[in-house]
Amino acid sequence: MRIEIRKEVFEPYREVAAYQKILAITGKAGATCVFVGTMRDFNEGSSVRGMTLEHYPGMTEKHLHEIAAQAGERWRVLDCLILHRVGEIRIDDVIVLVAVWSAHRGDAMDACRYIIEDLKSRAPFWKKEQLDDGERWVESNTTGYSEE
């Protein structure tokens, strides 16, 4: 299991492929589910130019380890990788990567979903968006679906 807070831009698929290479799970992991969250240029009806991601050093890492452990108790998980950016984020930068390896697809997909939903609602990160006419703290995360 690897959980890291990153100050620098990262390429998520290169990270997943590189991490998988060091895992000793050849022939065991029939399923991998990867979620990648990327900085959009719009949020809640406004055009967004960039943002600053703040976190609580120490607690954030601790909380992510707890989430991963909980997922491992609820589903059969062989390994997982969680990377999350902090600092100055530009449009199209990757913000978060969650990858879960399991023998079977249901376990990998449910665990990945569980981790990203908990991360969004409970992990201590805060976004401050730069808009055309100033800045604003994001007050809460969305439900995860487009609003019609």
Partner: protein, 77 residues
């Protein structure tokens, strides 16, 4: 006895400080700590609270050396 208090995000900006040490006698609870640190103002209900980097619910009692954090709803991912 003393605890370290941390504030994050919009709360940190509103209060104009990110960390402080608050000294107290025995029997200090979270709500009283907040008031002591913030000129007697009641603690906003919407805040999330952590003690020693674990979320806490309710008005828990604090111990010497605890790290207490107050922050608004999280918005990572």
């Amino acid at each position: 006895m003393a605890v370290t208090v941390k504030y994050f995000a919009s709360l940190r900006e509103t209060l104009g400080r990110n960390e402080e040490t608050i000294e107290f006698e025995d029997g200090m609870r979270l709500s009283r700590l907040w008031k002591k640190a913030n000129d007697g103002e009641p603690m906003p209900e919407s805040l999330m609270t952590a003690v020693n980097m674990e979320y806490v619910k309710g008005d828990v009692e604090l111990a010497d050396g605890d790290e207490v954090a107050f922050f608004p709803a999280v918005t990572g991912g």
